[in-house]
Symmetry: C2
Subunit: 246 residues, 2 copies
């Protein structure tokens, strides 16, 4: 049995997320890749990802692995996969890893990027990959306030109410908020993320950047562990899984 590791880029716009969610409808990225692997390898394949991404969320390099008894050559497998996969899902890397490698449990950290288009009018060319927010945002203040999230904390206040993760303690290792012309990038690296955690943090940071909640609020919300105090969940389209570190 070989253990094969995939790096996958996808545009999540037309999918119900990586994996079927209880209430989700429509095709999932995982199902499309498994079906394609089965076609080529002629055996049933189950792939394990570093984590789920929600409907509409993108990935520049999602990582997944699977076991196969097939000896199909790797370079041909990658070409074959990309030949069959739809335009919005492509395998960017494929290599063999040791039998102990597990995309989810071996991951040391993940980096998500949330992109806000911050100008007076939305963008046709970026419409599926950014969240358009027309009101002025104070990026420096957002960065300063965000720093209280660094380190190990219980992030329950930023966890969707229907997320039922047992372990709500996560460690955020880096938050970098930067502006480049009309785009604001919020990069968050953590050892793990709760359901909707990035989108809830970003929603709260937007309230701060707009001056609608006072300085110091983010820390209070974090400590409260009360989801109702945090800002709105921003739309999935602005979210992208940039990298998984092992």
């Amino acid at each position: 049995m070989r253990n094969l590791k995939l790096e996958i880029e996808y545009d999540g716009t037309n999918y119900a997320g990586w994996q079927v969610q209880p209430k989700a409808h429509g095709k999932t990225i995982q199902a499309v890749i498994e079906k394609t692997l089965r076609k080529i390898l002629r055996e049933k394949i189950k792939i394990i990802a570093s984590g789920r991404t929600d409907a509409g969320v993108h990935a520049r390099a999602q990582v997944a692995n699977f076991f196969t008894s097939s000896n199909f050559p790797l370079s041909r497998l990658k070409i074959g996969l990309n030949g069959i996969l739809p335009e919005d899902i492509k395998v960017i890397k494929l290599n063999e890893v040791g039998p102990d490698f597990h995309s989810r449990f071996s991951a040391k950290s993940k980096i998500y990027r949330y992109t806000i288009l911050n100008r007076g009018y939305s963008s046709p060319l970026w419409r599926n990959t950014v969240y358009f927010y027309p009101h002025p945002l104070d990026v420096k203040l957002m960065q300063k306030e965000a720093e209280c999230l660094l380190g190990r904390h219980n992030f329950r206040a930023f966890c969707a109410s229907h997320g039922r993760e047992k372990d709500q303690i996560k460690e955020i290792r880096r938050i970098a908020i930067s502006r480049k012309k009309d785009f604001i990038y919020i990069d968050i690296e953590a050892d793990g993320f709760l359901y909707n955690m990035v989108r809830n943090i970003v929603g709260t940071l937007i309230e701060i950047g707009r001056g609608r909640i006072p300085r110091g609020s983010l820390k209070k919300i974090l400590l409260s562990r009360n989801r109702r105090l945090a800002g709105q969940t921003v739309p999935p389209r602005g979210l992208c899984l940039l990298k998984v570190k092992y």
Copy 2:
């Protein structure tokens, strides 16, 4: 009568170009905007663009103008337009100009950008706005060779055979070819462009960058005025009208 100038961003993927072409089918960007203006201003509007863009070609700032007898306030008109226009067409600027302003005839130059994704696998996230070309390209050589195109020349060799422009003399003022990670940008500024001119020049530059035609070929092709000597026409999706200068 007021003469109103529009700057428009659009994703051309789902359109048959700016203006209806003889053989084209499907909706055009011009028709969608005219219909929207008519709805708001309650009069028939004819808009004049700086030039046509082909099916699948994008614009970051196409310029168009139109005359109206309506006194509708400009800021409300812009908001109204963007509220009705589809997600892939938005008005980014709207202002009143003098009666002599003509989007096409007043233009001093236009800048087009062609983007090549130059790596071993295509990109789901960029699939509609880049041309994926997997073979290595020598960008420095492309830039060096491209410089013979600067200045006033007859560009017939790079004009689509069914383009019937009388004036095939154009002046290219700048060609900048640069690489940023996996992306190659080819920016061309000229006082005007023949039909498919950018896409034919890029197709020829790719042959040069790949080493499939010898150095000096571009100048020979230019002087030959023979379309059959130039490279293939690259796909429209990589092309974007960046700016029109007045």
